[in-house]
Every structure is written in C-alpha cells, then in structure tokens.
C-alpha cells in the first residue's frame, strides 16, 4: 500500500461559497457526522471571525463526538499593522475551541499590493505572527497559501519565502491553493515538486475546477509529494467549485494505491455523496463520476452484451467498491446484495431464491427507475420489505381527499383539507387547516387516525423537500418528495414520486403514518413479550 493521504474536507466552508448553496447549522452537523464516518481527517466547519452562524456550529459539533475527523476553523492572517493578540478574527478561532485551524495568507506579490495593499515584508510578518500565535495556543495549523501557483509563476522567490515563513513559525501543513482555478496539471506537478524540495513541512493541495481539471490537479500534486488533499463533496464551491473529493478519493485509492480511507468507508462513498446532495438540496448530475446513477449505466447494445459476459469490458472498476451499482438500460440485472443486507438488518428471513424475494427486487428496481430514491427514505424501504413478506397490516385506506387553497387581494393564503378514510372497517371524515396544502392534508389525516391511534399525537413533519426529477420542462416532469417526521424520540424519512406534487406528498405522508403506527404496534408487542418473559422467570 502506498503513502497515507489525508483528506481535508471544506464542504462546510468553501463549499458554501457556491451559488445556490446555503447550509443551516443543523445541515452542517448532519453532514459533519457523515464526513467523519467517511474517514476524512479534517472538517473545516466555517469561518468564525466572519460568520456568526459558524460559531454555533463549532460549539454544537462537540456534542456529536466525532470519531476521527479534526474540526477545523478557517481564518485570515492578522490584519496588517496589528498585533495578532489584538486581531479579532484570530481570537475568534481560539474562542470556538477547535483542534485545528486553517489560516490563509498571500503568496502572490500582485495580491499583496492590490488586494491587501501593504508591503511584501509586512505580509511575511503577518504570516509569521499569525501562525506563531495560534501554534502557541496549542492548535494544529494548516497554512493555506492563497493564489500560490499564480504567485509562484509571477515571483517564485517571494512565493517560496511566504511558505518558508509559515514553516518557520511552526505550521504543521503548507497547503498550496490554486485559488483562481486557472492552473493546469503539468504546472501543478512542476511547482509542487519545487516546493517539495524547498520545504520540509508536509504539503497539501487546494484546487478549484475553473478549467475542469480540479481532480487532475489534486492527483498531480499528490504524485509530486503532497500528502493532504483539500476539496469538497460533489465539488461544491465558489464559481466552478472546489476539487471534487468524491472523484479524488477513489482515484487515489483504487487506481494509484494510496492509503486514504478504509475499504468499508470507500464502499459508503455513493451514500455519502447522495446524502450530502439531498441535505444541500443540490441536484446531483446523473453522470457524476463514480457515484452518479448513470456512472455504470450501459445503454449501447454492444456494450450491454459485452458487459453481461464480462464487466471489465466496459467498466473501469467494480461499482460496488464505491457503493454504486451497474445498471443496464435495456434490461436491469443489477446486484441483489444491498437488498439482502438490508432485510437481514431488519431481522427478516431473506431467502434470495424464493418468489417473494424476486418480486420485491423487481418492484424496488422499477420504483427506482421511476425516480424513487431509498437512501434518504429508510422508512419507505422498510415498509416495502416488510410488506413483501406479508408482515404488514393495512392500518387505513383512503376513500377521498379534497384540498382548497384560497387567497384574496392582500389577505394571507388559507389552506384547508377534507380527508375521508376507512379505519378498521369504519369510515372516518375530518377536516383541518394548515399552512399549505400538504400541511393541511397531514393535519386532516392525523385527526382521522388519532381517534383510533392516540399515539400519533406527538408526530409532526420536520422536513419537506421537493425535487423536480427530469431536467426537462416541468409540465410533465415527475417530482420526488422526501418527508422527514419525528415524534420527539425518533426520526424517520419517507418518499413519494409522481407527476403531481400533491400525489407524491400524499404517498410520503401515508408511508410516514403507516411507519409510525407499525413501529408503535411492534414496540408495544415487544414490551408485552418482555413482560411475559419476566413473569415467566419469576414464576420459575
């Protein structure tokens, strides 16, 4: 196995500078958890000296108890002509109590003069003082040399002088940043090799994708001696994005045999990529390398017949290594292992050879083909699996519903729903208001069911996401609705797909209620069994 390469994830900081991305603190915490499971070494959580919202993240992330990733704060070198101990941005980093900090400073003489408008000497002092100050307080320091490659091309001596200053001050890493994203791979190779000869400090690479070579640049840097790669999940970030870690990690590990994350963690890559795209509410292109739904999808007839004989004829890796799967668009014959694993997880006797199993597999594939996505909707999947084995009772059936939404001039919108369902053979009819058609429907349905299932009392929607599926005109496009529900003890997610957003929402709502009721029923049954056992023990 090759050298160990550490992944520095900046999805939560640089990634949020991308257009259309805005993460709440809750979103960031959820993503941080996933990143830690993936095996990244550093999670850059934000810029506390610039965004107050980030301070909350740094405080609350401590409760997550991350297993291996070091939470890192981003910040600038001290302001010119200021003592580091008087610099608010540096002090904010200390206040939020992180293990590591990434400090950025100028390496390009042009930038020193135009952007921060100071002298080359003062800039060197800014670098030295800032790194020294934070090191003296016990932090691990990654020095981000901003615009390094442009700076090196313009004035190599000064560029090297800046990073040597950082090394002198005790920096643990020197990360070379291609901030404008305009450098090409052969230039990266050359310059990183020069830096490798000039400093002893471990080197990192921070590439951007403005020339569509962010991944290639990161790999070139590693091959020239860098041992840290900075990037984001799915390449989110300012302008054309940061280098995409989701492509870099398998390239380094599977192709170049570097030691990046464990095989189990790599097999979780597709899940993590899709999870983050859902949380960020960003469309994942189906043709995204390694993890896209079409990454291993074969359409051409010749490809398909060859593939069915031997996958390596048209696949550069085995999809399961990154948690993806082969899809054959003529006839779907992909693997069953994921489903078997899931069923076993639920404690079901899952015989892959029997008819029920084959039917279930076919049903799930068909639903996925229509746009259902089960990764963010575990509860829907569980209902499907249990249903296939006849373990599900029908808790209610729909007779009809009507929703009315009305608005006059400057009055707020009023939304009402009437729902008619059959529960235990009896017809129940109820109406409710809501702050939107789906909320009204949810309230009316729950009113109907609560008469029979008081346990639904605490259940409520905590998140609601709508995604237009086709990239075409939305007139006939399908939408996918993901609903997250909670009852203060647990949280579960369900999914619905339809051309009609209310139909899709209804499916997800119904699954959500069914899941809640079945869980409660199962929990009650388990409790009774435990009590019977205890009574049995006492009686013996």
């Amino acid at each position: 196995m090759g050298a160990k390469i550490k992944i520095f994830d900046t999805t939560l900081r640089d990634g949020t500078q991308g257009e259309g991305i805005s993460l709440s603190v809750e979103d960031k915490l959820k993503i941080a958890q996933k990143l830690d499971e993936l095996g990244v070494s550093y999670i850059e959580g934000g810029w506390p000296g610039s965004n107050n919202k980030d301070i909350e993240f740094f405080i609350r992330v401590k409760e997550l108890g991350l297993k291996q990733a070091k939470v890192t704060a981003f910040g600038s070198t001290r302001r010119k002509d200021t003592l580091p101990e008087n610099d608010a941005n540096l002090n904010r980093i200390l206040e939020v109590g992180v293990q590591a900090a990434a400090i950025f400073g100028k390496s390009w003489d042009f930038q020193v003069h135009t952007a921060i408008q100071t002298t080359l000497e003062e800039n060197l002092a800014m670098i030295y003082d800032s790194v020294r100050y934070l090191k003296s307080r016990g932090l691990e320091i990654i020095y981000d040399a901003e615009h390094f490659f442009d700076g090196y091309k313009s004035n190599p001596e000064y560029a090297l002088a800046t990073i040597k200053k950082a090394e002198e001050a005790g920096a643990d890493w020197i990360a070379l940043c291609d901030t404008n994203g305009g450098t090409l791979p052969h230039e990266i190779s050359e310059i990183v090799a020069a830096v490798r000869r000039a400093v002893k400090c471990p080197i990192g690479i921070h590439a951007h994708n403005d020339c569509e070579v962010g991944v290639a640049n990161s790999i070139a840097a590693v091959m020239a001696g860098a041992t840290q790669v900075q990037g984001t999940i799915n390449g989110y970030g300012e302008r054309c994005g940061n280098a995409n870690l989701v492509s870099i990690i398998p390239n380094l590990q599977l192709k170049l045999k570097y030691d990046v994350i464990s095989d189990e963690q790599l097999a979780n890559l597709t899940n993590v990529a899709r999870y983050v795209s859902e949380i960020a509410n960003m469309h994942m292109p189906m043709n995204q390398p390694y993890v896209g739904t079409a990454a291993f999808a074969h359409k051409g007839g010749i490809h398909v017949s060859a593939i069915l004989r031997n996958s390596s004829t048209y696949e550069h890796i085995t999809p399961e290594l990154v948690g993806n799967k082969q899809r054959v668009l003529v006839s779907e014959l992909a693997g069953q292992s994921n489903l078997v694993f899931k069923a076993q997880e639920l404690g079901l006797d899952f015989n892959t050879n029997n008819q029920q199993t084959k039917q279930l597999i076919a049903q799930i594939k068909e639903m996925e083909h229509q746009g259902y996505q089960f990764e963010g909707a575990d509860a829907t999947l569980e209902l499907l699996i249990r249903g296939a084995y006849g373990h599900l009772e029908e808790v209610f059936t729909l007779e009809s519903f009507k929703i009315m939404v009305a608005k006059s001039e400057d009055q707020p919108v009023v939304s009402e729903a009437i729902v008619k369902v059959k529960v235990h053979g009896e017809t129940v009819y109820n109406a409710a208001e809501g702050n939107g058609p789906v909320n009204a429907l949810d309230n009316a349905l729950r009113k109907c069911l609560m008469q029979y299932y008081p346990g639904l009392q605490n259940m409520h929607l905590t998140d609601y996401k709508v995604r237009v599926l086709d990239e075409k005109d939305t007139t006939a496009a399908k939408v996918r609705v993901l609903i997250e529900s909670s009852d203060f003890q647990s949280t579960w997610s369900t999914v619905g797909v339809s051309e009609n957003v209310i139909e899709a929402s209804w499916q997800a709502l119904v699954d959500s209620m069914r899941y809640a009721l079945l869980s409660q029923t199962r929990a009650a049954r388990q409790l009774k069994e435990q009590q019977r056992e205890q009574v049995g023990l006492i009686n013996h």
Copy 2:
C-alpha cells in the same frame, strides 16, 4: 501561436449514448449548424450501419452547406471472416456519401477474445481490410483504436501492431480511445508519447470522464503529440460522458496557446454550449467551467471587494473571451459592494449615500434574514432594485385565486385553479388545470395575462425548488420557493418566502411574470429607440 489542433465533435453520435439524451434529426441538424459556426473540423453525425435515423441526417445535412466542418460517419471494422465489400455496416457508410469516416476496432487482446471472440491475426486483418476498403473509395479515415490504453497496458506490442496496421492501410488519423474512461493523465502522457514514436500518422485522443479527468487526459495527449481531440459539447455521453470540448478548447487556446478556432468563434463558446443544452433538453449545471452562469460569479465579500478593484484577483481569464460575463452575487456573505455592482449593471444611478439606496440595502438584508435568497433569483432582485427607484409599472394586481386538489381512492390527483386579476383596470377571470397546485395556478394566471400580453406564450417553468427554512417543526416553519422560467431565449429565476408554500410560490410566479413582461416592454422600447436613431441618421 502553437500547433493547429483539430476538433472532432461526436456530440451527435457518442453524445447521444448518454442517459436522458435523445436527439431528433431536426435537433441534430440545428446542432450541426452551430458546431460548424464554432469552428470544429469534424462532425460525427451518427452510425448509419446501426441506426436508420442517422441515414436521414447524413442525407439532409448536405442541404445545410456547412462551411468548414467535415461530416463524418461512425462505424465498426468489418465483421470477422467477412469480406469488406460484403459488410453491410461499411457499405452503409459509403451509401450516405460522407467526406470522412471514423472506424473503430479492437486494440486490447482481452477484448479480441471475449468481446468479438476471434484471433489476434483475424482482428489485424479486419482493421487493415476495413480501412483499405473505405480509403480506396476516397474517404478520409480516422481509425478509432478502442480501449487503446487498457490494451497497451495489457499487451503493448499487440496494441501498437493494431494501429500500425491501420496506418499501413492508409488511415489519415489514429485516434486513441480511453473507452472505459479509467486511465489517468500521467498514463495518457506516457502512452501517447510512445505511440508518437511508433507511428508517423497524426494522432487523435478520445477520452471519457469516468475518473473526472477527461479534460486533463485530452490536454495531456495534445502535449504528448496528439493533434486531434474528440469530445462532445458539455461532456454529454455514455456513463459519465465524453471529454468536454467546451472546457478543452479554451484550455488549449487561451492557456496553452494552441491554434484551435478563431478568437471570434471562441467568444461564441458560451452561446453554443447553452444552445446545445437547450436543444438536448439537458440542464446545464450553473457551475460548469467557462460557460456556466456561476463560472465567474463571486459571492464572498472579500472576493467581491477585491474583484471590483481588479478582476484578475479572482478570475483566471476575462469572461468575455468565451462569451460569458462576471456576476456579483448578493447574499449573506456579501458586502455593500455587491449591491452597488448589481445596480450599476442595470444602468441605475446608484449613489450609496442617498436615502433610497440605504432603504433598499436595509430591505434586502431584512428579506435575506427572513429567508429570501437572491443568488438563485436574479429576476426578483432586479425587480426590487428597479422598484426602489420608481421605474416599475404595475402590470397586474391580484383580486383572488382558489386552488382545488382532489383525489378519490385509486384515481390520480386532479388539480385546478381559478384566478381573478386586474389588468389595465379590467378584471380578468380564468381557470386551468395542472399537474399540481402551483402548476395549475401558473397556467391560470398566464391564461389571464396572455390576452393582454401574447408575448408570454413561450414562457414556461423549467425548475421548481422548495426548501423548508427553519430546522424546527414545520408547522410554523417558513418555506422558500425558487422558480426558474424560460422562453427559449433566456432563463430567469425568482424567489418567494412564506409560511405557506402556495403563498411563497405565488410570489415567485408573480415576479416571474412581471419580469418577463417588463423585459419585453424594455426590449420593445429599446428597439423603437434604435429605429428612431436610424431614422434620425438617415434624415441628416
């Protein structure tokens, strides 16, 4: 200026093997015209021996009178154990009367045995015979060595033998194909250099993007001696797509100073990329390098204030060179400079010191605080800014709307809307169906307005995103709705925020219509002014 590099465009052939893409003959002809204007040297139009639809393209494309691109047909080497003159696929190429043909054959011994199941010698004969046959009929021949890089790594002597055979038979080009997309740039460099030493024939490169290094591989090949690059517009193609010509061309020409297309043609790159994405009905990611709407969009406050002083601080090229433009985003991360820039862009006299400006800035910050996001909603922002300076006429006012959504048992959901608005003092009342409440509302509103504004005819929703804003219980949570609309010439986005998703959608819809109408009015006014000027000039 550097060496001349010829672009071989296979958008209409390999590009169509991507999931979700299907081009009619009309679509292909429109794209071919644009490609010719862009300056590509070869347009691979299809595979006549495999798809009858392609035959029609090859016949009709002659009527276009393309100026410089050579129309090329794709096809396979002859079937094993068959004479070339008896091979239907080769003969079809001759029948459609093209100037050039790209013939693909095996270079990987593994493929010869498993995929086509023949001997290594027969494969060499297949290559020789096919190239010889078509050359003797006067065609320019590009020999596509399929799986070349995997083949070379497995058995370099055989791989070289196959392309030498093609050269011997008279091939004008040897294009080395990384068919599985699994090769990395340093390997491409090495292998292309080896081929450069082994053959005299000009070399082409055909890369795929399965490792997200398709562009880097193409560049590496050119630097190692290739003078033809095969790829597709926007990287369309099977699995993760072909190498993206839209990134390769500016990289080669602007960065590496090769002679690819003219400067005027390069300045048309963004138009061509967006046009093709519209025809192909594929969503163009906003962060696509060089041509994406966010490729030169700056969000971070520090970036923006630096940019306004000097663009090269955060831009690797001048956007206009590829027909794109700089954008400054107004967001929570922005400073006042962003807003000033935007107003200036709109041609408004924006004095940061006057009362209107201060009020507008305060209003925008307050709206952002409530959840409005202006980055993905340029049109809403523009309306706000223009409104602050009293430049907006009220195009219509709402009197009332009602939406009804109904579902019975297993019937699909039905959605209808009734809208009552006042236009030019007159009350207009109309109803429409839709595939959801918002779609029905959109249709009904447009029906009302089209009587007065027929220009709304082509307008339609192209994307719709709902985001729950607070991380809390959604009962009182706000939602943000982002709507993207298009009229085939331009695209614009609007935003709405409310606790009620219909209210939020209504806001975004109304802004979308207002924006469309105001743009049309302004365009008409500008046209009148230009005509007046011309008349004035004539009269002088």
